[in-house]
Structure formats: structure tokens, C-alpha cells
């Protein structure tokens, strides 16, 4: 009798705890998202001077930007998925030399500011890029065959470059956790390999694929830097329009309207994705996780591994390599292809404040600041995400609402959100002075959608009866959660941490208004140098970018190694 009562009490505590826990991310979103957004929305509506708000041609411009946003996001997502799903299969099922390195390299693009990506691609496929030089020499051409910049292709390529890793990590991790025995069972039951994939593997992977597709689509839909830098004047997404309306024309009303439209479509997309995601969650059997990874044993599999790796190397590793190479070569040798004169001059120069510049960014300070912000953002977003996931288990309706809420920052214009922040948190000069504290907060807002999308399904997949047994033994719920659930989601947790870290490290656009010259970060330094003409400046920007890459690599390696810390299972 006492046992039954205790069981009931424990379950109600669970509900109560869930509700309380949910309050934390709700408050977080209310203060740092809804409050700024309401402030800027109010301001937009109040603006009286804008005669331009809803004129015909503005509507036309708006419509064009909506159409293009969808078009390029759709195409980008499709192409990314075409590479991403096979790549997920590669990392989810095969062991091969360099596996960990490849996975790490493929995630690095995420942190690079678009300016750096443009420079990297320029070094590779620009007019004097190595590939063009090679092709020209090889085929004896007078003109560079590859003309990339300013085309839709460049935009799509950059998006694939940035986002393939989401498929690799989100879908790949899910694939790793799929019990191979279910696939074997299907095959024994007369299902051909294709039928097995269609009827067993794919349905089980669907939640993770949908997550990845949604994330990539929203990233591409609200993409700004890539459209601006890799495309040309003829391409404008909603975000670019918002930027133009806000900064060129100071037309907040139209900008606000466009922001709402963008948000609206993002919510619709999230809801559609939720609709399609009907698969029940697959309980995890920890023992079977190791079995999934095998060395490729058949010839076909070996060719597949080689082929996908090849594409990843060409698409991702080579531009990064070109960037690194560019930072250690002097300008005289770029066009030549003959002698390569390596020098660390650029790296030496970034440490020297030649002109006594007030805003000189000491590299190690910037590095330290960037990393500290990234770690803070990582911690905040993971805690929030766990709260969301745990709290959502209270009721499925709460879960659905939270799901949409959490996605909102992703679909919100960075420019608009920035202005909202400004309005919301500029109450006093002292507050403004301590804006940098808000930087990890802003970063974690941006990282939250992706972190939640990774952690939530993993938590939901834990068999529910795991708790019940322990509860009857009188184990307090929180402790139970810490000891049982947390170890089971170690891998997704690590993946989520990596993304939060990456997002924060490379974040530049949305949060520049929060930064202060006294607390410089690496992206700020890169922009300072590349904004001035001169070989030295370009070289210094490249060197800073490489330091950013290295910092990120170190961070990734450290985070990945966290999963080796023994936690009792």
C-alpha cells in the first residue's frame, strides 16, 4: 500500500518538476526574444514618416524576395540532402581511416564568416585560384574556366558547404544508433536492400531526416551573408530586403512587415515538418550501438566510402586547405604555381599594432574572448534545451508549442532581432556598457533551435519504463535523471554542444551591435582587416581566419573527448 502511494507521489512530483523546469526556457525566450521583438514591432508600427510602406512597387519587391527566398532555400536544401544523406550513411555505418577527422572538417564551415568562405573559394576557384590555374595549364586555356561568383550556383554551393554537416551529424548519429538487426531481420524476411531501406531504415530515420531538413531549410531561408557575398545584386532574399530597407532607407515599417512574413513562413515550415513526423520514437538499446559501425567489406561499399569521402574532400576540405595555404603564402606567389614561398609573416603581423591603433585586436585576446563566449553560449543553450526536452514531456501539447517557440529565433531576421535587442536593453547607459554579457545569450538564442532539435528526440527515445523501476525504489527524480537519462544521451549531447560552440564562435552578423571594442572577438578582427585595401591587410585577415579555424578545431576535439569521461551507465 505504502509503495503504491509512494509511486503516485513520485509521479506527481515528476509532473510538477516538469512544469517548473519548462518555466526556465519559457522565461528565457520571453525576456530575450519576445520582449525585443514586441519592442521593435511596436516601433515599426509607430513610424509615421514612411510613405513608402505599402506602395505597389514595394509589394513587388517584397514578393520577389519571398519567391527567391523559397527557391534558393528549396534548391539548397535538396542538394544538401543529396550529399548529406549518403554522407550520413557513410558516417553512421562505416569505419574507415580518417573518419573522425573528416567529420570534424565537415563541421568547420559552420563557424566561418561568409567573408572568409568567399575568400576561401576565391583562393580555390577564383580567377587565380589553384583549381583554375591547374585547369588552365592542363587544358591550355587562356581564360579561367570556372567562373563562380555572382551566380545562383555560388549561393547553392556555399549553402551546401555550410550545411552538409548538419545531415552528417544529425542523421548520421541517428543512423549509428539504428539496430542493424532490424535491417537484417527485414532482409531475411525477403526484403531486398532497397526494400529494407524503404520499409525499415527510412521510416526509422525519418524523424532525424526531417529535423535536418527543417534546420537546413530555415538556415538557407534566412540566409544573409551568403546571398550578399556569393550572389550578386540580382539576388535578394527577404532577409536581404529587410537589411536594405532598414539600413538604407530606414524604412522600419516595411522591414517590420517583411520580418513578420519571414517569421510566418518559418513557422509554417516548422509546422509542416512536425506534421510529417509521425514516427514513434525508437527506444535505444545501448549495447547495439557499437555493432552498427563496420569496416566496408564488399567492393561496392569500398567504392561508396571512397567516393563520398572524395566529394567531401573536394567540397569542404579543399577550400579550407586553400584558405590555410593562402595565409602562409606571400602575394607574389599566388598567380605562379611554380615556386611556393611559405612564410608566417601574416601571423607575425597580426600580433603587432603597427599604427598604435586604438581598436587593434590582439589575437590571443580575441581568441580567448571568442572561446569564452562560445563556452558560455554552449552551456546556456544546452541547459535550455534540456529544460525544454524534459519539460515538454509533461504534455504533448506543451511539447508542440515549445517546439514552435524554440524555432522562432531561427526564422527571425537577424537585423530585426538586433534592433529589437537594442530597443529592449538600452534603458540605461550602464546597461549598454555591459552589453557583452548579452552576447552569449544572443548566441544561445540562435543556437537553441538546433540544439533542441538534436537533444529532444534523443531524450524522447529513452524507454519510459526505465524511470518507473527506479521510482518505486524511492530514488529522487532529479537524481534519477542525472544518473540514468543523461549518460544515455551522451552522444547527441556532444553533437549539440559542438553546434552551439560552432554557432557562437563564428557568429558575427546578428550580434555585432552587442560587441564592444574592449572585448573583441575573432570575427570582428577579421572584418577589420578585410575592410581595408592592401596585401598585408588581406593576409592578416586570412591569418585570423585560420586562427578561428584552429580554435574551432581545438574546441571540437575537446568537446568530443568529453564523451570518454566515464559516466556510470
Amino acid at each position: 500500500m505504502a509503495r503504491i502511494v509512494h509511486q503516485l507521489m513520485a509521479i506527481r512530483t515528476k509532473d510538477r518538476l516538469n512544469r517548473l523546469v519548462l518555466l526556465i526556457p519559457v522565461l528565457f525566450l520571453l525576456s530575450f526574444y519576445f520582449f525585443p521583438m514586441i519592442k521593435i514591432a511596436y516601433r515599426s508600427l509607430m513610424q509615421t514618416d514612411s510613405l513608402f510602406a505599402l506602395k505597389g512597387e514595394n509589394m513587388r519587391i517584397a514578393w520577389r524576395s519571398i519567391r527567391f527566398s523559397f527557391l534558393q532555400a528549396f534548391l539548397s536544401t535538396v542538394i544538401t540532402a543529396c550529399l548529406g544523406v549518403p554522407a550520413a550513411y557513410l558516417f553512421g555505418r562505416f569505419i574507415f581511416p580518417g573518419r573522425k577527422i573528416m567529420r570534424l572538417i565537415s563541421t568547420l564551415p559552420f563557424i566561418l564568416p561568409t567573408v572568409v568562405v568567399a575568400a576561401a573559394f576565391n583562393a580555390l576557384v577564383g580567377k587565380n585560384g589553384w583549381i583554375n590555374l591547374f585547369l588552365m595549364r592542363f587544358f591550355d586555356l587562356s581564360q579561367a574556366p570556372i567562373q563562380l561568383f555572382g551566380t545562383l550556383g555560388a549561393i547553392l554551393l556555399a549553402h551546401v558547404f555550410y550545411n552538409t554537416s548538419i545531415f552528417i551529424r544529425v542523421v548520421g548519429t541517428a543512423w549509428e544508433r539504428l539496430d542493424t538487426n532490424t535491417e537484417d531481420a527485414a532482409r531475411v524476411l525477403s526484403a531486398s536492400p532497397w526494400q529494407t531501406f524503404k520499409k525499415v531504415t527510412f521510416p526509422l530515420l525519418l524523424p532525424s531526416i526531417l529535423s535536418a531538413v527543417l534546420l537546413v531549410f530555415l538556415f538557407d531561408f534566412t540566409s544573409f551573408g551568403v546571398i550578399l557575398l556569393m550572389g550578386g545584386a540580382q539576388f535578394a532574399t527577404i532577409e536581404v530586403e529587410i537589411y536594405i530597407q532598414t539600413t538604407q532607407f530606414l524604412n522600419l515599417r516595411l522591414a517590420g512587415l517583411l520580418s513578420l512574413i519571414q517569421l510566418f513562413f518559418s513557422i509554417i515550415t516548422s509546422l509542416i515538418s512536425k506534421r510529417l513526423d509521425n514516427a514513434p520514437f525508437v527506444p535505444i538499446i545501448p549495447a547495439s550501438i557499437e555493432k552498427a559501425l563496420r569496416k566496408p567489406d564488399t567492393r561496392r561499399k569500398k567504392i561508396f566510402v571512397f567516393f563520398i569521402n572524395g566529394i567531401l574532400v573536394i567540397l569542404i576540405a579543399m577550400p579550407l586547405g586553400a584558405l590555410i595555404l593562402r595565409s602562409v603564402l606571400t602575394s607574389e606567389n599566388i598567380g605562379s604555381y611554380g615556386t611556393l614561398d611559405f612564410s608566417l609573416a601574416n601571423y607575425q603581423r597580426i600580433f603587432v599594432n603597427e599604427r598604435d591603433a586604438l581598436f587593434f585586436v590582439p589575437p590571443f585576446t580575441a581568441l580567448r574572448n571568442s572561446i569564452l563566449f562560445a563556452l558560455a553560449a554552449m552551456a546556456i543553450s544546452i541547459i535550455m534545451a534540456i529544460c525544454v526536452a524534459v519539460g515538454s514531456s509533461w504534455s504533448s501539447r506543451a511539447g508542440k508549442i515549445m517546439d514552435v517557440f524554440v524555432m522562432l529565433p531561427l526564422g527571425t531576421s537577424a537585423v530585426t532581432l538586433g534592433l529589437g535587442f537594442l530597443l529592449a536593453f538600452s534603458a540605461s547607459r550602464a546597461m549598454v556598457a555591459y552589453f557583452p554579457v548579452l552576447i552569449p545569450v544572443a548566441h544561445s538564442l540562435i543556437a537553441l533551435p538546433i540544439v533542441v532539435r538534436i537533444i529532444q528526440p534523443a531524450l524522447q527515445a529513452i524507454p519510459s519504463n526505465q524511470h518507473d523501476a527506479a521510482i518505486t525504489l524511492g530514488v529522487p527524480y532529479a537524481r534519477l535523471w542525472w544518473k540514468l537519462d543523461l549518460p544515455m544521451i551522451k552522444k547527441p549531447l556532444i553533437t549539440a554542444a559542438i553546434y552551439a560552440f560552432a554557432v557562437s564562435l563564428g557568429e558575427f552578423g546578428a550580434t555585432t551591435f552587442l560587441s564592444r571594442p574592449e572585448i573583441p572577438t575573432l570575427p570582428v578582427a577579421i572584418f577589420r582587416y578585410i575592410g581595408l585595401p592592401g596585401q598585408e591587410n588581406y593576409g592578416k585577415a586570412m591569418a585570423m581566419a585560420v586562427i578561428l579555424l584552429l580554435a574551432c578545431t581545438a574546441g571540437f576535439v575537446a568537446i568530443e573527448n568529453l564523451q570518454d569521461i566515464p559516466v556510470r551507465e
Binding site: 516601433r43 512597387e57 519587391i61 567573408v115 568567399a118 575568400a119 576565391n122 577564383g126 580567377k127 587565380n128 561568383f149 555572382g150 550578399l228 557575398l229 550572389g231 545584386a233 540580382q234 537589411y243 536594405i244 532598414t246 538604407q248 532607407f249 530606414l250 524604412n251 602575394s331 599566388i334 598567380g335 609573416a345 599594432n353 599604427r355 591603433a357 586604438l358 581598436f359 558560455a376 546556456i380 534592433l419 537594442l422 538600452s426 534603458a427 540605461s428 547607459r429 550602464a430 549598454v432 556598457a433 555591459y434 554579457v437 552569449p440 555585432t512 551591435f513 571594442p517 578585410i530 575592410g531 581595408l532 585595401p533 592592401g534 596585401q535 598585408e536 591587410n537 588581406y538 593576409g539
Partner: protein, 345 residues
Amino acid sequence: MKFKHMILFLFGAAVIFSCTAAPQPLVVMTHDSFAISESVISAFEEEHGVELTFLPSGDAGSTLNRAILSKDAPVADVLYGVDNTFLSRALSEDLFLPYTPDGFENLVADVLNFPGNQLTPIDFGYVCINYDKAYFEEQDLDVPQTFDDLLDPTYSGLLVVQNPATSSPGLAFLLATITEYGPEGYLAFWEGLKENGVVVANDWETAYYTNFSGSAGEGSQPMVVSYGTSPAAEVIFAEAELETSPTASLVGANMCFQQIEYAGILKGAEQEALAKKFMDYMLSEEFQNDIPMNMFVYPVNRLAEIPREFIEFAQVPKKPAILDTDLIAENRETWIASWRELFTN
């Protein structure tokens, strides 16, 4: 858990700091390209016993936006970075305190044409087409001298400009063409440019470092819209010692657009007296001498020194394009919209 503590600590520290009665700094809101020497700032700080804090706030448009949005409770004392394309707009928002700084009498004539004294010019520069000397020599081409020359098929595909909707030099160049051809005729010119294969980038960095052949990026176009001082910068920031600049500007009539940058004291500033002192300081020789090598623009104080490299390698236009600021304010949107219309199809 450790990180959670760090956050709490940071937040707590912030709260505590904001409550203590520390001496209030003088806050200057600038755009992101603002640069000056540490010693110049320290000199001011020491002389007046105040700490200077800078708030870089994005490009010129973003900075102005921010000032407008926080009009009722300004976050800074001084705003630097309104340029002549935004001048009328800034003035119409009534953001500034009228003030004529000391040293006003030393301003060069070029910058004197502006209304009222709410804003004071601090520096000026020119947006000009830079060209790659080596390319023109190798191809044995004549350097274009006028806008009309740019329509010549010999220069097909050799010019890269920036989108005026997203780039300040881009807008300046557009305004230069409007100065030349007038609001009625500029579109025809741009149609001609479009037919002649002009390449459009969205921002200066891309145009200069990805498209321009004369920069470290080694792109395809030997002509780019940039700044009159860029050829000097190429010498100053060259990896090896150079005798001549690899690039130069086209300085035909109306081909360079004059950009002037202004500063002003924000209404409601907390440190009004110190702000005035700082405005004076910005016009002083000490400050003005420091401007060229940091921001690559010219000082407005005619007594200030111009660096040797500027004199040797940067070409100054005899007849720069200058457009009435009210005209700009009235028609900016229309002009940019028409331009976009032409180039988005």
C-alpha cells in the same frame, strides 16, 4: 555546472558594476570603420580626466538607425559617422545639439557647404574607380577618362561596381553618375553599362578582394569602384617595398564622388560639456593628423598634415561629383529602386 556558475557570476558582476557610481565615460557612437590611434585618444583622456568609450554600430546606415531608435534615451554623447548621403535625413530627425566647435575656421572650402551647425564635418574622401595598372599595360589599353568611355566595348566586362542598395561606395558611385547625367539620364547610362558587361558585387570587400585584379585577391576585373586613397593604401600595406602604386584612380570630371563624414552632439547627452570638448578635439590638428593613416580619408582641417603616401600615390579629382544633400534625401529611395529594377531582371 561550472559554466552555469560562470554565467551567474558574470551577470551578477554586470549588475553590480552598473550600480556603482563610477565616473561616467564619454561615449562616442561610431560606424565600424572608425579608427584612430591610441595615443591620440589617451591625450584627450588625460587632459580632461575622462574615459572615452566607443560604440561601433555597424555601417553608416545602421549607426544612424541606432541613434534614431534610441533618440529618447540616447546611449551616447557624440555621434560620428553620418555621411553626406544621410545628412538631410539625420538632420530631419532632429537628433543633435547645435554647436560650432573651435577650429571651425580651419575647415577646407570643399566641406563648407552644409546647413546649420548641428553636424560638423570631420573628414572627407572620394569614391573613385581604381584601375589595375599592370593589366592596362599588358593589354595595351588606354585608361578611360570619362563616364562615356566606360561604355566603350573595349572595356566590356572590365568594371566591377557595388550595389547601391547594400554598399556605401556603391551608392556614392551611383550618385556620381547622377551628377554627370542628371536624374533623367543616368538610367540610360546604366543600361549601357549593363550591356557592356558591368559586374555588380554587393559589397566593397567582395568587389575589391574577389573581383578586382589589382588587389591581393587577384580577380578578373581590372577596374573597381573604391576609394581615392586605396592606391596609397596598396603601397602602405604592400608586403614588399614599392616605388609606385600598382593601382590608380580615374579622376575625370564627376568620376569621383565626394563623401564627407560628420559628427554631432546628441540631444540629451549626459556629458554635454565634455562632448563639446571632444568635438573641438576632433577638429584639432592632433586628431586630424591622425585621421588619414587610420581611416584613409582626408582631414577637413587645412592645417593638418597629409601623409606623403597620399600625396604621391592617391589622385585627387579636380572636379569631384557633389550633389545637393536635400536632393539626395528626397530621391534616394527612387534612384536606388530604379537601379535595382534595372539590375534584377
